[in-house]
Assembly symmetry: D4
Homo-oligomer: 152 residues x 8
């Protein structure tokens, strides 16, 4: 009594290997999960707009072009996701992660947040909109395992 495949979008922090941990955990557990993610190469993600569509002379329009191109990917993948995991690290502002959480939430997607308890107070509105608040990639894998197979 199971769904064939689950699409899980991994939003947020790009400076640690949490996506790889989830990926290998999901593989090890043999879960029917298709992981998707934003472009995680920081440089490419920043440069994509001007690299493809031509240079800009200001930071603002360079960013605007790049962020808009990335949005083609991220919005499509979030809308196609069954579950959205949003990771907050301890560095950087990561407003795009919180934006994705709000976006996914308004679409009615189940959201799982992943962050250290130490930043929990600052994330209280985001966590309150999530169906699970995890502290480790391993917990996310176990959540997916339970949610999909019923195994604890």
């Amino acid at each position: 009594m199971a769904k064939d495949r689950w699409a899980v979008y991994l939003s947020g922090e790009i400076h640690s290997d949490w996506r790889e941990q989830i990926s290998s955990g999901v593989e090890k557990a043999g879960l029917p999960v298709d992981l998707t993610a934003p472009v995680t190469d920081h440089g490419a993600s920043d440069e994509c707009g001007i690299a493809i569509l031509g240079p800009e002379t200001t930071r603002a329009w360079t960013d605007h072009k790049g962020a808009s191109v990335n949005a083609i990917r991220t919005r499509t993948l979030i809308e196609a996701a069954d579950v959205v995991v949003v990771r907050f690290g301890d560095k950087y502002r990561q407003w795009n992660a919180a934006f994705d959480a709000g976006y996914a939430s308004a679409l009615g997607k189940p959201v799982i947040t992943l962050h250290d308890d130490s930043i929990g107070h600052a994330l209280k509105e985001v966590d309150a909109a999530a169906l699970a608040v995890a502290e480790s990639p391993d917990q996310v894998v176990r959540l997916l395992d339970y949610v999909i197979t019923g195994r604890l």
Copy 2:
């Protein structure tokens, strides 16, 4: 002139073998049906939140964590369903079953209820929102058979 596969979500009572009866009936009839269901292991369903995300000291938060984790599964499967069957037994409050019926109904999903006639009065609002009120798993199988193949 038929649809390839039908996704049917089986919500509600977890203390009898009605899902297995529907499953074997569907298989015997050779219907192109993919059955889905909540986690039906009562213990796992109650413990999943604290087992994966860490212990709580109160009943309320243990329940909140667990029910939220289960909601990742149930909401996803209800939204993916073509038809939602909701079973009410003669024991327990089963408010989650009625909740699922309301949730599916607001999404415009065809709902089939399954219960003894003896509790029909208490279920009148739920039944009125259903497209069929069955009393046995066999009737549900025959409904699916007719709805999918046209066979009576």
Copy 3:
């Protein structure tokens, strides 16, 4: 530059062989079309409710039960359709066909009506909501052929 498969729901009249004509036309043209339809066995369609869910003593509830069961099929298939064809014959009231046209129309589905010109005035509101008004099954096949392949 084409879509893999098109789901086409054939609503309405069940007393002539128009569905078979469309089906063989679609097959002859080799179109990637999956045809769906309501249960077209008039007796089964009338009796399904009481046959499966138990007898009634009035015409009204017999009809209510049957029509509700049929709605599990028709609503699911209309929502899954890319295109809805609605056929009106020269006999009977066929209010269910007009109901389906309104239902499909509100969902934003492209509607093709199929009927003799002689009943066109009575169908003017339905036709005005359609993207094509055909008079023969062959025209419907040619519409589907053109819409899908671009062939005239």
Copy 4:
């Protein structure tokens, strides 16, 4: 504990005074109801397209223009309605009434049908999608009275 005003759209038959009966019943009961309706002058309804937008040489395009203009009114009023009442008389095909019922139903509007029991079998799919099947305008008034005020 009440809603300020209820918008009720009266669709269907235009050859008897059922709308006036509901209107005077609603007024007599002092209900906070705003009744709306299609244009009920048959001639105007048929001619509006060509009268305003210029003549046509065929029945089909005269009808298409007129029905499209009327749809500006009817779709707007149905979408603005809290409740949709659909009346079927014993004459004419009234496919537009059944179309409206399907349209309102797909939008999730509560539908009340109003017709003689004698045509109930032909209307079974429409009635099955309705929340109440009335036989007289007085019953519709009493339904609105109960639904709005709780008075029986």
Copy 5:
């Protein structure tokens, strides 16, 4: 910096005076709240279908008629509500209350549940879908007061 009026629907138990308590609390606090509710006269609510639309010979159809008529009111008021409060008492099954909670939840309405802690475990799925779990009408009033005015 405030919204003019808030529409709050009070669903559930009809055997205690919790609605009156909320109503007088809201009035005392001078909140710009419009309270709505189902018909709370148990007899009227059970009889409305047959009283208006004619008698039935079975319990099931009596209930079906009545529950459908009540649904005209409840669905309209839930869709018009900004906030939905759902009360569970200690008696009866109250499946309609849980149904309303699921329905409101799928529509994205903020839900407040109101019940004794003693039945919290049975209500865990419903509570997990709520934004606040209150134990007394006074808490509901204070929630509305805070949510609307920011007063604590």
Copy 6:
């Protein structure tokens, strides 16, 4: 040729007087704008959950309760807004502001961001989803003035 009133939600930073500046600017310009906002009393916003619904022993559940109660207000006001202004200051993480921007964006609401250019790179995804990026409350007032009256 104008809309009667515009509802504008002011999300984000609560440690400077930007809302008051917009409010007095809007008043001075005589704009038909109804401003709404989250509860901006930091203490009340943090304590509301436990103050009304009872104490918690952990930071996490205190936050969860409070953030959920605040969400009753914020989601309702965002859904009721014509335009959403989101302010990012130079202190704190302000993930709730980014969350609101994502939420409003997924609902199709026009978003205006308000922040110093110095944090523009970190906000590039949020800004790319906005229809205007302002640096001062005065610019927001002038945007509203232009958008509503056409005055430059």
Copy 7:
């Protein structure tokens, strides 16, 4: 049996007085219509972005800023409209008018196009999505009059 007020958005050409003609026609006829429109001062519409949010060094970003600011107005008013009238003149490309027609059409708004027959072929896809194709402002007024009052 009428709706209180109708909101009608007038999109498109800004170089002739067609909006004024409709406005005075509507006033003369005493119709309960609230007309809305984009900013029709060409200079203001082009300059609004840089005038409020600061200068740009390229045509492209000047346009982007301005068009985005105008979109705050136009999208809000189109979503608030009951009916959208789109006027195409014989000069300029007017792609924004066609864009608005597509936007309104996807939202399910009734669209009336207004243009000379001489450009009808180029507008055939837009006209096919409209419920009425008018050639003069007077016809638009008469359409509104008929649609709202039933007068021919």
Copy 8:
């Protein structure tokens, strides 16, 4: 971490080989993209209505029939698309391209426009609703490549 297939609809100009360039570029890059498009045979596209459904005596109805038939294809493919590319050439009015852009935009589809910078001012509203503005088919291919694979 990728989506299986991307559906990309290519709307607009039919007088140059831009679609073939994108198609061969996508193939060369080995992208998992399914390209769809309107019927690009100008004659067929103009004649389809009367060729299949019978002749008309006026240009207007010939166009209406044809454009409506084409809409069965275009609306279905736009709704099925993940990304919509809209090409504007330097000839003809191409209002249908702008209409498609508005339609796709209201559905929340990511839009990429493709046109020479020389017509950018006239397209400013359309470009402002797009997530990328390209000048060459090669740029579109590189956008798709980056969006799907993350390669720059």
